[in-house]
């Protein structure tokens, strides 16, 4: 198993096996829906539930949006997916989990990019919370950078003319 050629290009089958193992280790059954969701998100990072549904329906036409939501929520809970909620956009999902990375979003076209923390992990986790702060135990720090991507800067688009989700997934 997993020797020889594969039907599809990319990192398809390799990742698929890892996903199956991870699902098993979380006491989850391996279903084509779950694998399809993982594959769709992997193929198109930062995509919305709607985009994921559309992508999956190409090969699994009977899948419903509700199932997508259930699967996405569950996989996120397991840590196999990460959910991000950009302003003025439905939630988006990505397969890059576990590392502490942030996001940059173009306020003009909605493009989203991964951004590694500038100085490792620590700096964003030690703000001056001492000053009258009651929230002491910081677990995660999410940074959302907003600006304009070079494409939009070139086209001189006005900010926020296009809604983020009218544009396809990023990367």
């Amino acid at each position: 198993m997993m020797t020889g050629t594969r039907t599809e290009g990319g990192s398809g089958a390799t990742a698929e096996h890892e996903w199956e193992q991870q699902l098993h280790s979380h006491d989850r059954r391996v279903t084509k829906q779950r694998l399809a969701v993982l594959a769709a998100v992997a193929r198109s990072q930062h995509s919305t539930a709607e985009a994921i549904t559309a992508a999956i329906r190409a090969e699994l036409p009977s899948i419903t949006v509700q199932s997508i939501y259930v699967v996405l929520a569950d996989l996120t809970r397991l840590g196999m997916l990460r959910r991000i909620e950009p302003p003025n956009s439905p939630a988006r999902y990505e397969t890059r989990t576990g590392d502490n990375h942030h996001h940059a979003i173009c306020t003009s076209c909605g493009r989203i990019e991964d951004v590694d923390c500038a100085v490792g992990h620590a700096p964003c986790l030690t703000p001056e919370l001492d000053a009258g702060a009651t929230i002491g135990h910081i677990i995660i720090a999410d940074v959302l950078y907003q600006g304009t991507c070079s494409a939009c800067a070139a086209t001189a688009n006005e900010p926020l003319t296009v809604k983020p989700d009218e544009v396809g997934p990023s990367h």
Copy 2:
């Protein structure tokens, strides 16, 4: 004008005059609805549209939720309010604008606090965007710290048991 005593405690009338001036300078009419929204947000930072509506109705019972939304959106566009969108919560609004400050949210009770950037303004604005990034012109960097506040840590609440908006506004 603005001398002597004021009817209400706090920074009521002073702020009100500033608001009127700001509204005028933005070619907006000074309406009691707008002033009421500004006052409600000022009084209770990080509150939701629903909470703002409830607060305002105490003295302006005929106001509608839709108007609140319109006013909030407009004042946010003008920069007189700032909108924050915490995960698993409706949008929240605050009067502290213009400065680059961030937020810490308690994942247990939903309490939100302002957090000043640890090293002034610059550090969060210069991530390593060079590495293959197309989003070059960063305008703002929002940092969202998530953790547990001391109260929740003491009560040993499980994270996310309570939805953020089941709790009153913070501060």
